[in-house]
Amino acid sequence: MQTNIMLCGVGGQGIVLTSKLIAAAAMEEDIPVMSAETIGMAQKGGSVFSFLRLGEGVSCPMFGKKSADILIAFEPAEAVRMLPYLKDGGKAVVNTHAIMPVTAALKGSNYTGDEMIDYLKEKVDDLLLIDGTKACEEIGSPKVLNMIMLGAALSRGVLPFDVAKIEQTMRNTVKPQFHELNSRALRYSL
């Protein structure tokens, strides 16, 4: 069984960290993992992606278009940008909060992400939209967006583990005072 995961968003949203957490969970379950992600200059407010591949027989860290079982997008336009990697019938979890790039602000653009969401609704049958900003406010920290998104992805039943497994991995990597907060974030969509 192979699972291809595409994580994407904007630099600083915690995409790489989320990818690492899933990889660590897989390692604990003896599932082979490969990944590839944006590193370096592009991280400064640029588009960030992470290819993540779980399962036996994977030989290449990146996969081709129409290969991802699930797309976990932290920003609507980034979801659209990476959508070609989602396989037909694949599932998508998308944060509806749009991040306006400086270039758009300069041009006086009023990019809100709405047309991106409309496009995604048209193209993806199994689409879960999350208002990440509202969810963060409800949980009480702007820093748990990645756990909210990961929890939402887990609810789609595509990843080869359940929320309890990810919770256990999270506890191994996150400071104890943040365990409860992160657990609530992981369970937000359940």
Partner: protein
């Protein structure tokens, strides 16, 4: 043996440590940086680790250690080898006593580099053996082989991964600590007939090197990482020759299909000629899938000529593989599809996709470089001036609306480029911007040249007390070393004064008026003068509270956005808004606002 999830660069470092590494030196540069950082993290106290001032110094240090019988490794990105090429070319003649690996990470794309140069050329040019891993596991295994070959032949060897191997992650099998090799260096044994380069020595060494490389070509033909897939297959008429990450793409693209014969070249120099001959046997056509330059392709054409083989070789030279940029799973699939005659993938984007916002990299919110560029821009308004940039985060000062980088060439080049421009256009105010790490790496000699030759220019040192672009490595001005020592900081002002720069002023760029006055005052003088804009990298300091916009005072003139281009100021519902998650409270925008509408958080209530 056990499993670990490692980045390619971490795997290389771990492999080197497991092979008995004694010394590692380098200069940071994407995509190579994490190799040295991982080695430092795994230092049990037996390893000497240093970020050197530049690649030339790093390579010379590692060479010296290997003269003593140590196992040493020097790390850099591809353009770093240009800086280190002087010692490299000579060291190839001298050789080493221990094991020495020169790790040079190439960057197809290029993703974060000035050039798409191919270090495999440097291998044949310097006549040094070269290893080219195709996966994270292979990088771990092969770096250990590289040390073995280096020790066996008393020569430095090149190890050349590319970005996707360096920055790819995989769960791989690595040695346990007790399986590590150890190496006890014998020490330096004086022998001037061996360690002092003279024409006679070089002549003899040249003869020896050619003979050795012929031997190595033979030995590499039997090397386990130069592979033909499948091992035995009769009646095959087509073959694919590839290397590195493109081998992984090829395997991925051919999944579930009738595969042609595949040759994976892991040692591009000396080329494994006998292995290639075995691969070519019975084939009519070969497609070479490479990144950067067509090196395997040319080698195969040469072998076909040498042995009178009637095999057609396709690749970059025949226009069947893209000449520049990174390969991808799709591009490789389509190269193979064309070659094998099956249906290519439709890689045209969906036309109904809404227009996507572009996200070019920008200076961070609160970055002091933004303030420095803005101060110079304001001071020079209406005055004919030129701004020569350099390599680092501050190259991003080129973006609109700052638009303050007129030239950028290579590390440290800006100083002397302004000098040249000033000679031809004496009525232009010339500015060279250089970061603190770049100043130490390669701008000091440029500054000496400018002073000596009576240039008229202003040197701007953007001192954020770190090597920010590559992930905050220490340098001579930071007072910290990779061995964890706290040492005397090398003072940039004292260096400049010492080489004869009379005026050196230091100013905080976030105090805008003072900074602008300073630029006006200093740049009005004749000769070489310097300004040090000193303010720490915004990523390294605890941010202040975000600023607040007073909606009564804000006239929506958008001057803050149009002049500064800070990612912390956005337009929401048609109104200028502070993006609280990004704003670090640097206060530059409040000094730019003509209506005093932007203030500190405390004034807001």
């Amino acid at each position: 043996m056990h499993k670990e999830f490692l980045m390619g660069n971490a795997a290389i470092a771990r492999g080197a440590v497991d092979a008995g590494l004694n010394v590692i030196s380098g200069y940071p540069g994407t995509p190579s940086t994490e190799v040295l950082e991982t080695a430092a993290k795994n230092n049990d106290g037996s390893l000497y680790v240093e970020w050197s001032v530049n690649e030339k110094a790093a390579l010379e240090l590692s060479a010296g250690a290997a003269y003593c019988g140590a196992n040493s490794m020097v790390t850099m990105k591809q353009v770093g080898l240009n800086v280190a090429s002087d010692p490299l070319m000579s060291l190839a003649y001298i050789g080493v006593k221990g094991g020495m690996v020169i790790l040079v990470a190439d960057d197809p794309g290029p993703i974060s580099s000035q050039t798409e140069q191919d270090t495999r050329h440097f291998a044949s040019y310097s006549k040094l053996p070269c290893f080219d891993p195709s996966s994270v596991q292979e990088a771990y295994d092969m770096i250990q082989d590289a040390f073995e070959y280096s020790r066996k032949y008393n020569t430095p060897v090149l190890f050349r991964p590319t970005t996707r191997v360096c920055h790819g992650y995989a769960s791989i099998t690595v040695k346990d600590k007790d399986e590590r090799k150890t190496n006890k260096p014998e020490g330096f044994v004086k022998d001037s007939s061996k360690w002092v380069i003279f024409p006679r020595l070089s002549y003899n060494a040249h003869i020896h090197i050619e003979k050795r490389n012929a031997e190595l070509s033979h030995e590499f033909s039997a090397y386990r990482k130069n592979e033909i897939f499948p091992e035995e297959k009769k009646g095959c008429k087509r073959g694919i020759a590839t290397h590195g990450i493109s081998f992984a793409y090829t395997t991925e693209a051919l999944k579930g299909m009738e595969a042609p014969r595949i040759l994976k070249v892991s040692t591009p120099f000396p080329f494994p000629e006998q292995k290639a001959l075995k691969f070519l046997e019975g084939l009519d056509e070969v497609l070479c899938i490479e990144e950067l330059d067509p090196i395997i392709e040319r080698e195969l054409i040469y072998i076909c000529g040498k042995y009178h083989l009637d095999v057609r070789i396709y690749g970059k030279l025949t226009g069947n593989v893209q000449p520049a940029g990174e390969n991808t799973v799709e591009s490789v699939y389509n190269n193979i599809a064309e070659f094998m005659g099956f249906e290519p993938l439709d890689i045209n984007p969906d036309e109904s996709t809404p227009e996507l916002p572009v996200r070019p990299p920008v200076l961070c919110a609160g970055c002091p470089h933004r303030a420095s560029f803005y101060a110079v821009k304001k001071a020079m308004k209406g005055i004919k001036s030129v701004f020569c940039g350099d390599i680092g985060c501050y190259t991003l000062g080129n973006a609109m609306p700052l638009d303050m980088v007129d030239t950028c060439l290579c590390m440290g080049a800006g100083v002397n480029i302004t000098q040249g421009i000033g000679k031809i256009e004496p009525d232009t105010k010339c500015f060279a911007f250089v970061g603190d790490s770049t100043f130490f790496a390669s701008a000091i000699t440029g500054a000496v040249n400018a002073v000596y030759n009576q240039a008229d220019m202003t040197l701007i040192v953007l001192d954020n007390s770190t090597t920010a672009m590559t992930g905050h490595q220490p340098h001579p001005g930071t007072g910290r070393t990779m061995m964890g020592q706290v040492v005397d900081k090398i003072d940039i002002t004292a260096v400049l004064k010492g080489i004869g720069v009379q005026t050196v002023e230091t100013v905080d760029p976030l105090k805008l008026d003072e900074a602008v006055e300073c630029v006006k005052r200093v740049s009005a003088q004749k000769g070489v003068k310097a300004i040090i804009f000193k303010s720490p990298c915004a990523v390294l300091i605890k941010p202040e509270k975000p600023v607040v916009i007073d909606s009564d005072k804000c006239k929506q003139c958008k001057k803050c956005i149009n002049e500064l281009g800070c990612p912390g100021i956005v337009i929401k519902d048609g109104k200028v808004t502070i993006e609280r998650s990004l704003c670090s409270g640097c206060g530059l925008c409040s000094q730019v606002c003509p209506f005093g509408a932007i203030g500190g958080a405390d004034n807001a209530d």
